[in-house]
């Protein structure tokens, strides 16, 4: 089934919600696995989200402009003795999209960094 433009799937919405909670108002950067761990803790699941599911959702959120990413400098990774990571940042349109998603579902929760307009969904 084809999705409507800009709509979020359940997993994308959950990841966006977790990302919003992680970033807070300061918009802290996070990497994919960090988000996966936070997602696992938030949902209280015994296992971490699958690799394919996580990055497919992240790629889609990035292509929609809800997340921005940059590659971590190699020096930092080398110092810590691990492979370089891709760091994601939440954009304002990502926050707005999540707020819209909540409104469409009929839930009005405060999203850090934006004001949720009151009233029924358009």
């Amino acid at each position: 089934m084809r999705r409507s433009e800009g709509s979020l799937t359940e997993i994308e919405a959950t990841l966006l919600e977790v990302a919003i909670k992680m970033c807070g108002v300061d918009n802290v950067e996070f990497h994919g696995f960090q988000l996966a761990k936070a997602h696992q803790q938030a949902l209280g699941k015994p296992r971490i989200i699958g690799f394919g599911s996580l990055y497919r959702a992240l790629d889609r959120l990035e292509s929609l402009g809800y997340l921005k990413s940059r590659k971590e400098p190699d020096e930092v990774a080398r110092e810590e003795g691990r492979p370089p990571r891709r760091l994601y940042t939440l954009t304002n349109s990502g926050r707005n999209a999540f707020a819209r998603h909540l409104m469409n579902k009929g839930v009005a929760l405060p999203v850090p960094g934006i004001t949720v307009p009151e009233g029924p969904a358009p």
Partner: protein, 258 residues
């Protein structure tokens, strides 16, 4: 002694498996990703493999912090990859098209099915990435050969049914019709050479045999029709792959309709 040997052997096997299970598992899932991204444009492939390394490193570090042993970490890694298997295939599907039609596109020598043709196109676009020129060349050739085969087949099918039309319009007696039907069968044989190299000509050979036998024998018209009908039913029964024929897009032989 047997039990002691068994315990010792189990300990040895256990230690070997315990030692190599994690690298083996990481190797297996790594090659799964490598195979999955085979033929993808370079940038996408690098991105996916980079994500994979980041994720596996994260899983291993997190499990080490929890105090898991390598075998337990291997199981976690495997589970994390297995959990996303459906989405991995979805990633492939977004770029190539459904797996079923892709296999059909690779298998069928003739793309008459729209979804198969779309998959072929998807596969072509997918492979026409930055680095995989040779795959692109193979698929361009494949599509060109398919198109050529399709055009030839269409030409022969059209020509074959001109004989049938002629038989229906101008030939009055069965003896006048039979050469035209034989011409139909022979032309169809040529058409099917481009459609399916094994099954159809064999079936059409039987039809030709029936036609030849009909020419030789002086049986009743009822008997002739029955045998021809039997021949054509066999033809249809033995060609389950030929969806077009079953859908009736290629006109059916008028002998069956009369």
């Amino acid at each position: 002694v047997k039990w002691l040997l068994f315990v010792a052997l189990s300990a040895v096997v256990g230690s070997i498996v315990g030692r190599y299970l994690l690298p083996m598992t990481v190797g297996v899932v790594w090659y799964w990703q490598v195979c999955l991204t085979l033929g993808a444009p370079r940038r996408e492939r690098e991105r996916k493999l980079e994500q994979f390394i980041e994720f596996i490193d994260g899983v291993i570090s997190a499990d080490r912090e929890k105090g898991y042993n390598p075998s337990q970490i291997a199981v976690t890694v495997l589970m994390a990859v297995m959990d996303g298997l459906r989405d991995d295939l979805g990633w492939w599907r977004e770029r190539v098209g459904p797996l079923r039609t892709t296999i059909a596109a690779l298998h069928s020598p003739l793309c008459w099915d729209v979804s198969v043709a779309i998959s072929t196109l998807g596969l072509l676009c997918y492979c026409a990435g930055e680095t995989n020129c040779w795959i692109s060349v193979v698929f361009v050739s494949y599509c060109a050969a398919n198109t050529f085969a399709r055009l030839r087949a269409q030409y022969y099918v059209k020509k074959a049914y001109q004989y049938v039309d002629a038989a229906r319009q101008f030939a009055v007696t069965p003896s006048e019709r039979l050469p035209l039907y034989r011409a139909w069968a022979k032309t169809m044989q040529r058409a099917h050479r481009y459609m399916e190299p094994v099954i159809m000509p064999a079936t059409l050979d039987e039809v030709l045999e029936v036609l030849d036998e009909l020419e030789r024998r002086s049986g009743s018209m009822h008997e002739q029709r029955r045998r021809l009908a039997a021949g054509f039913i066999k033809l249809l029964d033995r060609a389950p792959w030929d969806r077009e024929l079953r859908r009736g897009r290629i006109p059916r032989c008028p002998l069956l309709l009369k």
